[in-house]
């Protein structure tokens, strides 16, 4: 029975694919709700089957592994692309705790976003295109999470990238949306080129793409050697894992490749909600977790991961404080939370200065990151859906133009309150537990700076989320609002999402015990300092409190005064530290003007010019010869005479 269910797990992917093809190719016109219902039905089937598979996995596989670890299950694996007699890329479905967890997250959120979109996109002339692209995304993302090998992951990695591209630029007549889509695709593509190099390196050394082989200690040992390049000694394991991580660097928008994510908010809000907060952007985290045993073998890689994660978490949180666009605040918040997940994975490496735990792994870092992926997906998705409902009602993205929406949109108000409390890390909501686990992991592993950064970011998160919340819902309306209402298609998914937001904390024990990396020895037991939850809560309360002081009841005056006090700093932060401008400089000034333009000139003038020159020389030569063969006897006679005279004199 279990095998039968596993064997048919391709249905999870097949349903959205079918939806994509039918809606995309079929001329299903005019009747919008029919298309919506069709998409929802297939999404529901996919989601239902994903849940069945997950349940079967937890029931059937439980107890077959050693201790609490669930063994991986290869549900399907068939050859796809044969590279050489020894190297073949497969397409498969690989079930283990993290892929099953992601299957649930992706399919549930996809279903809810589909329902929501029927309301949100109502009346849009490209309604069908939207649903077909959304289905393409679901298919690609589900394919990504169940990948059995790294090449398959790359395939779906690119496909989620392209569906993200198409959906960011969904309103293709809007130049800003088009520019944002291009930026997102090229930035992630830039990272993916390094990812591809990493795949080439690692798979060449190990002779396989399969995660099971790549994650084995043998591969790590095989890769762990140095080679000399330009006088530097480079460790191949570190190089390979860092290159692979580059893929995640771009996809999860870590600094300095983060600039595409805020711009990606130009897409329709349901898209921001599913792709740019809940699922696709955590692909980088997922990739790191998927390859964790290999990554963990390299100390430097985990160190880089930790630094970049912690820095991005703080950096994005600081920017989020100053932003005014409702979706951009959430985008920076996503960046910051992704930073949490990434540094949590990096913090799994226990600091060597502890002495007896030298180079061991604290698996809590891994479990906590996965747990945060899970909880964050739901509450962040909900925040975005809520923001979408507000934008839909207010027709503006500017939080300064909102205010006083509490009485007008009560359902949204209460749901978003739950989400804001969750992301701020208030007991007992889901965010509290996962953040607590992350902080604990970094504390246990001895990364005190990272721990402090995490704590500080926590306080900032609470502050900017409640700044967002108070400015939108409290006080008086700051602009004229017409016809504000809540659409049931949009309200219900938000309400449903409050369930995991409120109760996912119950799963903490499950995640910490069962969602652990494969093929790693259990590290020593760590203590759990009892003061940690109090400190974390204190940070959250501090953040919420200061937000209340500045923006409670919808006031903005105090904040405006503060803003004037820190004028230049504020401008710097408000302009996102000018990272976008640096990228613009690199692409336009350097890439276009200093490389591409000279090459164009060189090609036309030098290469092509030399070809033309050759032709010209031949022509001139031909004319010269023609002159000597012009058929005039006098000329021939003259030349002969000159020759005779020359012989005469020379002789």
């Amino acid at each position: 029975m279990a095998d039968f269910i596993f064997f048919n797990s391709y249905l999870i992917l097949f349903c959205p694919l079918l939806s994509f093809v039918v809606i995309g190719l079929g001329h299903l016109r005019s009747d919008n709700t029919f298309v919506g219902k069709f998409a929802i039905t297939l999404s529901a089937l996919s989601c239902g089957y994903a849940l069945i598979t997950a349940l079967t996995y937890f029931i059937a596989v439980m107890g077959h592994g050693q201790g609490d670890v669930y063994p991986a299950k290869m549900a399907l694996d068939s050859a796809w692309l044969n590279f050489s007699p020894t190297l073949t890329a497969n397409m498969g479905i690989y079930l283990d705790p993290i892929s099953v967890m992601m299957l649930i997250v992706v399919s549930v959120i996809s279903l809810l976003v589909n329902i929501y979109s029927v309301g949100y996109m109502k009346g849009d002339p490209s309604f069908n295109r939207f649903f077909s692209l959304l289905a393409l995304f679901s298919f690609s993302m589900l394919g990504l999470v169940v990948s059995s090998n790294i090449l398959q992951m790359f395939v779906f990695w690119e496909l989620v990238g392209v569906s993200s591209y198409a959906l960011i630029g969904f309103w293709y007549e809007k130049p800003s949306a088009v520019a944002a889509s291009k930026k997102a695709f090229i930035m992630t593509r830039f990272a993916d080129a390094f990812f591809l190099l990493g795949i080439l390196l690692v798979s060449f050394q190990s002779g396989s793409f399969s995660f099971q082989i790549l994650n084995s200690p043998e591969t790590a040992a095989l890769l762990n050697k140095n080679f000399l390049f330009a006088g530097m000694s480079i460790n191949m394991l570190t190089l390979g894992t860092l290159l692979i991580f580059c893929g995640g660097w771009g996809k999860s928008a870590m600094f300095p490749l983060h600039v595409w994510l805020p711009d990606a908010m130009e897409g329709p809000t349901p898209v921001s909600s599913i792709i740019h907060s809940a699922t696709m952007v955590v692909a980088g985290v997922y990739l790191t977790a998927r390859m964790f045993p290999l990554f963990a073998a390299s100390e430097s890689t985990l160190f880089v991961i930790q630094c970049i994660g912690a820095f991005t978490a703080l950096f994005a949180a600081v920017i989020a404080i100053t932003q005014m666009d409702i979706k951009r605040i959430l985008a920076f918040s996503t960046l910051s939370q992704l930073g949490y997940m990434i540094f949590s994975l990096g913090a799994a490496k226990v600091c060597a200065e502890g002495g007896h735990h030298e180079s061991s792994i604290n698996i809590l870092g891994y479990s906590a990151a996965m747990y945060h992926v899970f909880t964050h997906a739901f509450f962040k998705c909900m925040l975005f859906l809520g923001a979408g409902a507000i934008i839909h009602a207010v027709h503006s993205n500017d939080i300064l133009k909102m205010g006083g929406l509490k009485s007008l949109m009560p359902k949204t108000y209460w749901s978003l309150l739950a989400a804001c409390l969750a992301i701020a890390g208030v007991f007992p909501l889901s965010g509290f537990w996962s953040k607590d686990a992350i902080l604990l992991a970094s504390l246990q592993s001895g990364h005190y700076i990272t721990f402090l950064v995490g704590l500080m970011t926590g306080a900032l998160t609470a502050f900017y989320m409640f700044r967002f919340f108070f400015l939108i819902f409290h006080g008086e309306a700051r602009s004229e609002l017409h016809d504000v209402h809540e659409d049931p298609w949009m309200t219900w998914p938000i309400i449903i999402l409050t369930i995991p937001t409120l109760f996912a904390g119950l799963l903490e024990h499950f995640f910490i015990i069962h969602v652990v990396p494969p093929q790693l020895d259990e590290a020593a037991h760590f203590v759990h300092p009892s003061w940690l939850p109090w400190i974390a809560t204190l940070a959250a309360v501090l953040g919420i409190g200061s937000a209340w002081l500045l923006y409670g009841k919808g006031k903005t005056e105090t904040a405006a005064r503060l803003k004037d006090m820190f004028g230049s700093v504020y401008t710097l932060v408000y302009n996102k530290f000018y990272v976008d401008e640096v990228w613009l400089f690199i692409t336009h000034k350097i890439l276009f003007n200093c490389i591409a333009a000279p090459i164009k000139w060189f090609d036309r003038k030098v290469v092509d010019g030399s070809m033309d020159l050759t032709g010209w020389l031949l022509q001139v030569g031909g004319k010269g010869i023609r002159f000597s063969q012009n058929g005039q006897l006098q000329f021939y006679l003259g030349v002969t005479l000159v020759g005779v005279f020359m012989f005469f004199f020379l002789g």
Partner: protein, 503 residues
């Protein structure tokens, strides 16, 4: 129908088609087009039958492990010019079969795409069919002399086709293209004759020649001559400059056929004549050519960024992508060579579709300058979506043919452990970012953004125009999603070439 007869038919049918057009009244365009279409449809069927037959035959007679001689099927040999022992000697292996399939698809679509050629249509289609006959002839020939003969038949009509039916600076472009290609041909002819006389076997038979071991010094001189000679047609740097001008001036079907199939003759010749007959020469010269084609890959991609004409963008991207074909070959690994062959097929389909779409778009907007267009998605969704898809194929999106080929090329070149190879692989892989930049720039300027007023009334593709686009799209997706059988076939054909190279 037995194999050799089928092979002969495949190159004879286009000639017959060309002849059949001759007695038709000059202004009866419709009939001429129908004759061409039917002729090419028949050929498409014949090639499909050939492919099916070939799959069964090659499954029954697999290439032996460690074989060093290419296994040709459906061979047939009859003496022709006894004096020099030139034979009509035909046969196919998987590479040539796939290339013929590609040719058949591209030309069938090309005829449909040139349905609106009304200026001297008779001459146009006659020349087009002669050209196609030459292309098929190259792929069925085992005898190097007939190989060269067909090669010239394929190259020369291009002069008239571009010079008469082209646009822009057509005389200049056609002259340049023809002269450069003929200069390449001179190299090839010299190389082939040198092979013939040096071997002393009194034979142009590829298989016979491959048994002969040419001395190292001979190979050292003549390998680059042959490789460059074919390389000119494969747009090798710095002999690629005929390509942008030529493609930009050529009429749609000619661009399609030229970039889609003819440029592949270059790669095909490099592999079949250059690397297969002179493995030691290949070993000696590979580093040099590796550097050249790496320049090709990057240079073409960067060159495309600043172009403003759609055809120039595509032509430079062809330079980059054809560079990847040779890049795969110069990797000197099994996977690399296979990747090069796959890239020939993939690029053929892709670039044919590119030029096909550009022709249709140009026919409506009467401009090819990207900055003057915009928002075409609104008025011609079919063409725009097709353009986006083929653009994505160009940047190597998985699920489309480009990825399958590029993945093989990159894996193959990375598995050559030489330091230079590694560096070049890194550079070539990074070129995919540049590709993404120019593809997306073109796509965004073309199909996205607000629609210009003068284009607001344009119409989408007609049913007749949708047919070739759809066929090519299906091929792109088919190869991208289910690459299995093509890869399997190519594997069989590449094994002996690779073994021979490593002997």
């Amino acid at each position: 129908m037995n194999g050799p007869f089928l092979l002969t038919m495949i190159w004879v049918v286009p000639f017959i088609t060309a002849l059949a057009c001759l007695p038709v009244r000059v202004d009866d365009h419709q009939r001429i087009k129908m004759i061409s279409l039917i002729g090419n449809l028949i050929n498409l069927l014949l090639v499909t039958i050939l492919t099916c037959k070939f799959i069964t035959v090659s499954a029954a007679q697999p290439v032996a492990d460690g074989a060093v001689a290419s296994l040709f099927h459906f061979t047939y040999k009859v003496g022709w010019l006894k004096m020099m022992n030139i034979e009509y000697n035909i046969g196919v292996d998987a590479i040539s079969v796939l290339m013929m399939l590609l040719t058949a698809i591209v030309i069938f679509c090309g005829v449909l795409a040139s349905w609106n050629v009304n200026n001297q249509a008779k001459e146009f289609f006659v020349l087009l069919n002669v050209l196609v006959a030459g292309v098929y002839g190259v792929f069925v020939s085992i005898d190097l002399f007939t190989f060269f003969l067909f090669y010239e038949i394929a190259v020369l009509p291009m002069y008239l086709l571009i010079g008469l039916w082209g646009t822009g600076r057509k005389e200049y472009a056609s002259m340049k293209l023809t002269l450069m290609l003929v200069a390449g041909s001179a190299f090839i002819l010299a190389g082939i004759l040198a092979l013939y006389f040096e071997s002393g076997l009194n034979s142009f038979d590829l298989q016979t020649l491959s048994q002969h071991h040419f001395s190292d010094s001979f190979q050292y001189i003549f390998f680059p001559i042959i490789f460059l000679g074919f390389g000119v047609l494969g747009a090798i740097f710095p002999f690629h400059t005929w390509s942008p001008d030529g493609h930009a001036s050529a009429p749609t079907a000619v661009s399609m056929l030229h970039a889609g199939v003819l440029m592949k003759l270059g790669g095909y010749g490099c592999l079949r004549v250059g690397m297969y007959l002179m493995p030691e020469g290949a070993q000696m010269w590979m580093d040099f050519f590796l550097i050249l084609v790496t320049i090709n890959v990057l240079y073409g991609a960067f060159g495309a960024i600043r172009q403003t004409d759609l055809k120039y963008i595509t032509a430079y991207s062809s330079v980059s992508h054809c560079g990847l074909v040779l890049f795969g070959f110069t990797a000197m690994t099994f996977t690399g060579i296979k990747g090069g062959v796959l890239q020939m097929i993939s690029h053929g389909l892709m670039t044919a579709l590119f030029f096909c779409l550009i022709g249709m778009i140009y026919g409506r907007t009467h401009t090819r300058t990207v900055s003057e267009m915009g928002g075409l998605m609104k008025v011609m969704p079919f063409l725009s979506v097709a353009y986006v898809i083929v653009g994505l194929a160009g940047l190597g999106l998985p699920g489309l043919s480009g990825f399958v080929a590029e993945a093989n090329v990159f894996v193959g070149s990375f598995s050559n452990p030489g330091t230079l190879n590694r560096i070049c692989t890194v550079l070539a892989v990074l070129s995919i970012v540049v590709t993404a930049v120019y593809v997306l720039r073109a796509v965004n300027d073309l199909v996205n953004g607000p629609i210009k007023k003068q284009f607001a009334t344009l119409t989408d593709a007609s049913l007749l125009e949708k047919v070739p686009v759809t066929i090519l799209l299906i091929c792109l997706f088919g190869m991208g999603i289910l690459p299995g059988w093509i890869v399997e076939l190519v594997n069989n054909a590449v094994h002996p070439i690779f073994n021979n190279l490593m002997r």
